[in-house]
Amino acid sequence: MADDKDVLRDVWFGRIPTCFTLYQDEITEREAEPFYLLLPRVSYLTLVTDKVKKHFHKAMRQEDLEEMWFEYEGTPLKWHYPIGVLFDLHASNTALPWSITVHFKDFPERDLLHCPSNSVIEAHFMSSIKEADTLKHKGQVVNEMQKKDHKQLWMGLQNDKFDQFWAMNRKLMEYPTEDSGFRYIPFRIYQTMSDRPFIQKLFRPASPDGHTHTLGDLLKVVFPAAIPQDDEQKKYLVVVHGIEPLLETPVQWLSEHLSHPDNFLHISIIPAPSD
């Protein structure tokens, strides 16, 4: 159990070193220094980049300021994905730090959602939690919570308070003793080369005969290609929080421990490096 707690802490405190650089076409008054930052994996881009915004604002003319957006190697970064997912999906094979280009112009309306304030992030976050809880407990737990409990979850995330968040999130991770786990595992599988944003299906944590489902079972059902054949070399990496868990890992445990704060287990499937 000590391990479980440590895992939670490690997951929560996972950081990605990032280097923000201003897009070269942006008009500046003076030279804009790149800005280095450790981004929390479980958080959202727009939630933690206030400093970045401030830093670059200094260098820019006030009248040129529009909504800030981020891009990595030509790909606009969706702020409504957790940062860890974005990194794993797009940049896990590159050298650190992760270099993100900051834009203040030409907002890609087709690719990105606007994020005028933190309340939008909060709404997105809470809806994710509710969706996850609907899958896990038919939404009972989250509905029984009071407004302040919801606030506590959000504030925990916003202020990076592990204890505050988990004091409430613990309830969401409970399940009836007579069951072997949640009703369904809330998970999302992302991949770079598909048009679909992510795969999401109903998946029970245990088979009807009581056998516990593992990550391998999940992938077998949802994305069979990700499982390497015996003789074959690994084509895909299955990455959660920047690590590759063993395929024998039970999905219930994964869901409880490696879920993001929005209670979803975000799994990225990326092609294995060819070298």
Binding site: M1, A2, D3, D10, I16, D163, P250
Partner: protein, 858 residues
């Protein structure tokens, strides 16, 4: 679920608190019982604060228990317990309200809320217990008193307040239990997550780390699972696998270890490698920003700054040159002096400070003394105040007792006044009575003297007449030349002389007359005839009381015992109630239910109807002739008495006024007044001259018969009593009780004996002088038939005649007291009345059917 339970518990608690309050305020803790009590119009009830009494009119009087300490211990305890219960309940409500899940008072977590609710529940249970104890204690006392046979006071029953209190107590305990229960449920549900609050969790996580081997770690893990009640699916799996394979815990879950290691690895690569660098970079960035800003500002300030610096340098130089002009020594000396002075001053000040400190100490001491004084004064004041309050209360008590005494005094005074008034009234009455008495005595004396004078005059007249007659006789005798035995003459003369000497006492003269006659009778008819003539004349001229004995005595010798029925005749249509001979014995009057009085002439052993007197509206009950035989008085059932004249059969007077049947009516001896007795339990005295009722006397019982002497009226009553009345006063002179209802009264000729007949079938003679029964007559077969059966004396008073219910006429001899005759066969029904003719020759009896029988000795 638990929220609902909690809410229900809370509402129960609030309800219980209200009930407890209501119970404490309720009037009826115990109510006086009606069982075994006769008086149910009055009800008493009590509670902890006052006791009340309510009467049937709904008027309630309540009295507070004035002294708390004088109350019985259990009442005090009950009060205390009830109040404690209410306070606990109040605190409990507040606490439970804060502990409810649905409230948002404070930002406590669920566990804290649970604890608060638990404590609230505990408070309620305590409150309920104290209510129950108080109520049950009180109830026990009431029940004990009820069943205690030696308990002397009012017995009570359990009142409404007690039931309310029990309800409140039960609700409080129930509600408290629900609160506790709901809290426990919320707390006791085993959490399904491995995660626990940090404080608790760290303790749990740390312990297994301290143990060395994997085995023991697994063991400890299991132990901790049990101890803490926390488990997760993962750990369960781990433990299960570990138990099967017998390997260490870390080897058990390779995937978990893999994840942990990978995470560590990831952090090493991604986080730790860059953490410091990025941190330092940011600091540098900030610094450079700061520097940039600073440098800008420095640039602008540079010129100003330099100017100011130069100026300060110049002034410093000037000062130094000015000081260095050789006066430094004197300056130093002055400085030293100043220093010394200052030091002296300092020492002085120190001294002063010491003195002041001394002062402070002294003042402190003084202050302490004063404080002590104040304290003692305060204590004294307290004492005095207590004393004052004691005295005040004593004063109040005394005033109260004084008021009581005054009230008592007032009532005594009132009573005394009332008694005084009655006393004075009685005194006045006494005085009046005494005056009356005086007057009566004097009148009586006057009458007496008058009477004496009259008697004297009469005697004188008598002697004169006698002498005249004697002289005449003597002259006649002298004239007649008959030879007379001289001895006879002498004898007469002697007697006359004797009479002349004895003339002073009239009584003796009167009493002696019959004996003289008896002796004279055989000797010759002459004197006898003379005396007879005298007697007749006298009866007309003189008052009746002297005349009547004359006539009676005249008839006495002729009393003949009835032996045969001379004449049997039908007197009336229906019952014959009354019969009476006229004083002259020639006429007979009968009265019956046919509303008539009939007059019969008795001649040659037969009765011939002479006439009938009409006018009565109902049956006749009693008949009486006046002493001259000219008036006839009849009492009637129509509430009236009537008077007819005998000669012309005309109705003269009707005396109405009774409110019931008039059962008897008699002339007084002066013939001017009438006494009547009625079923309406009154006697009335009528004056014939003015024809009005003079007096009404309440006799107290229905009057069956009346007889009169000069001043005295005797009445025989339904209530077995013979009453003697003085007609001047309204009061009873005397009473005599017989054994049966008195039906008839009769007087003998000299009014010394009273004959009574009563329903105990005894005929009695009462001696009026001693007022005692002298003789009693009874006979086999004699039975008094009705309440108005009349009996009679013979004219000489030697016999008594009475009719029986079986139609037999009984005649007793007074002298021997034995039955002389029992004459039957002529009456067929009960004899109602018997009358003996004043001449003594005839007796007539009338019966219930219409017959009347005339008896004589022939």
């Amino acid at each position: 679920m638990s929220t609902g339970l909690e809410l229900v518990g809370f509402l129960l608690c609030v309800g219980s608190w209200l009930l407890t309050g209501a119970s404490l305020g309720n009037d009826y803790w115990k109510v006086s019982t009606f069982s075994g009590s006769v008086i149910i119009s009055n009800r008493q009830y009590e509670n902890l604060w006052f006791s009340c009494a309510e009467d049937s009119a709904g008027i309630t009087n309540c009295r507070d228990f004035e002294s708390m300490l004088a109350l019985p211990g259990y009442v005090q305890a009950c009060r205390a317990l009830m109040i404690i219960s209410l306070l606990l309940g109040l605190v409990g409500i507040i606490v439970a309200l804060m502990g409810l899940k649905c409230t948002k008072i404070g930002s406590a977590s669920d566990e804290t809320k649970g604890k608060i609710a638990l404590s609230g529940g505990g408070l309620f249970i305590l409150s309920g217990l104290s209510t129950m104890i108080a109520i049950s204690w009180y109830a026990t006392r009431v029940v004990e008193e009820f069943y205690d046979p030696f308990f002397g006071g009012i017995k009570f029953e359990l009142g409404t307040g007690l039931y309310i209190g029990w309800g409140g107590g039960c609700l409080a305990i129930l509600g408290g239990a629900l609160l506790c229960c709901s809290c426990k449920r919320g707390d006791g549900r085993p959490p399904k997550s491995f995660y626990s609050p940090p404080g608790q969790g760290e303790k749990i996580y740390k312990t297994p780390l301290s143990t060395g081997t994997a085995d023991s770690r697994a063991y400890h893990q299991r132990q901790f699972v049990c101890l803490a009640g926390h488990y997760s699916l993962a750990s369960v799996i781990c433990l299960r696998v570990g138990a099967m394979s017998g390997q260490g815990g870390q080897a058990v879950c390779p995937w978990k270890r893999h994840v942990a290691e990978q995470l560590k690895q990831r952090d090493r690569v991604q986080r730790q490698a860059f953490e410091e660098i990025i941190h330092q970079y940011n600091r540098l960035l900030e610094k450079s920003d700061l520097h940039a800003v600073l440098s800008e500002r420095l640039q602008t300030d540079k010129f100003d700054h330099q100017n100011r610096h130069d100026l300060s340098k110049v002034t410093l130089c000037v000062l130094q040159s000015w000081a260095g002009r050789g006066r430094s020594e004197t300056l130093l000396q002055e400085m030293a002096q100043i220093r010394i002075r200052h030091q002296e001053e300092l020492t002085e000040l120190h001294k002063k400070r010491g003195e002041l400190a001394q002062n402070v100490i002294e003042l402190n001491n003084q202050m302490q003394l004063k404080d002590k004084d104040i304290q003692t004064n305060e204590a004294q004041m307290l004492q005095y105040q207590r004393r004052i309050s004691e005295l005040e209360s004593e004063c109040r008590d005394l005033r109260g007792s004084l008021q009581d005494l005054e009230r008592a005094n007032q009532t005594l005074k009132d009573e005394y006044d009332a008694l005084q008034i009655t006393f004075s009234a009685l005194e006045g009455k006494l005085r009046r009575t005494a005056e009356d008495n005086q007057e009566l005595v004097s009148r009586w004396m006057a009458e007496k003297s008058q009477e004496a004078n009259r008697l004297n005059a009469e005697n004188e007249k008598d002697t004169r007449r006698r002498q005249a007659k004697l002289q005449k006789d003597l002259a006649e005798a002298a004239k007649e030349p008959l030879p007379i035995d001289p001895e006879d003459d002498i004898e007469v003369l002697q007697e006359d002389a004797a009479e002349g000497t004895g003339d002073t006492s009239p009584g003796r003269a009167i009493s002696r007359t019959p004996s003289r006659r008896a002796t004279q009778n055989p000797s010759g008819g002459l004197l006898d005839s003379i005396s007879n003539i005298f007697g007749r004349r006298r009866s007309v001229s003189l008052s009746l009381d002297s005349a009547e004995p004359e006539t009676h005595s005249g008839g006495c010798a002729e009393v003949r015992l009835p032996t045969t029925a001379l004449h049997t005749f039908d007197a009336h249509d229906g019952e014959v109630n009354a019969v009476r001979f006229s004083p002259g014995s020639r006429l007979l009057a009968t009265g019956g239910t046919d509303r008539r009085v009939k007059l019969w002439e008795v001649a040659s052993g037969r009765c011939q109807l002479k006439g009938s007197l009409t006018g009565s509206n109902a049956g006749i009950t009693s008949i009486e002739f006046d002493s001259a035989g000219s008036y006839l008085l009849a009492a009637s059932n129509d509430f009236a008495s009537r008077i007819w004249t005998v000669d012309d059969y005309r109705l003269r007077h009707t005396l109405t006024g009774h409110s019931g049947k008039v059962l008897a009516a008699r002339f007084m001896l002066d013939n001017a007044r009438i006494v009547s007795g009625s079923y309406d339990r009154t006697l009335k005295l009528w004056d014939l001259r003015s024809k009005v009722c003079m007096k009404t006397v309440f006799a107290g019982s229905s009057c069956n018969d009346i007889v009169c002497t000069e001043q005295c009226v005797m009445s025989g009553h339904f209530d077995k009593k013979v009453r003697f009345w003085d007609i001047r006063a309204e009061s009873i002179v005397q009473e005599l009780e017989l054994l049966g209802r008195v039906t008839s009264l009769d007087l003998n000729h000299d009014r010394t004996e009273l004959l009574t007949c009563s329903r105990d079938d005894l005929v009695k003679i009462i001696d009026l002088r001693s007022n005692a029964v002298r003789q009693s007559f009874s006979a086999q077969g004699f039975k008094c038939g009705a309440d108005w059966t009349r009996v009679t004396f013979s004219p000489d008073g030697c016999y008594v005649a009475a009719g029986s219910a079986d139609g037999t006429l009984f005649v007793w001899n007074v002298l021997t007291g034995k039955l002389d005759r029992a004459l039957d066969k002529h009456h067929s029904s009960a004899i109602n009345a018997v009358s003996w003719s004043p001449s003594g020759a005839h007796v007539v009896s009338v019966e219930k059917s219409s017959k009347a029988v005339l008896w004589s000795d022939i």
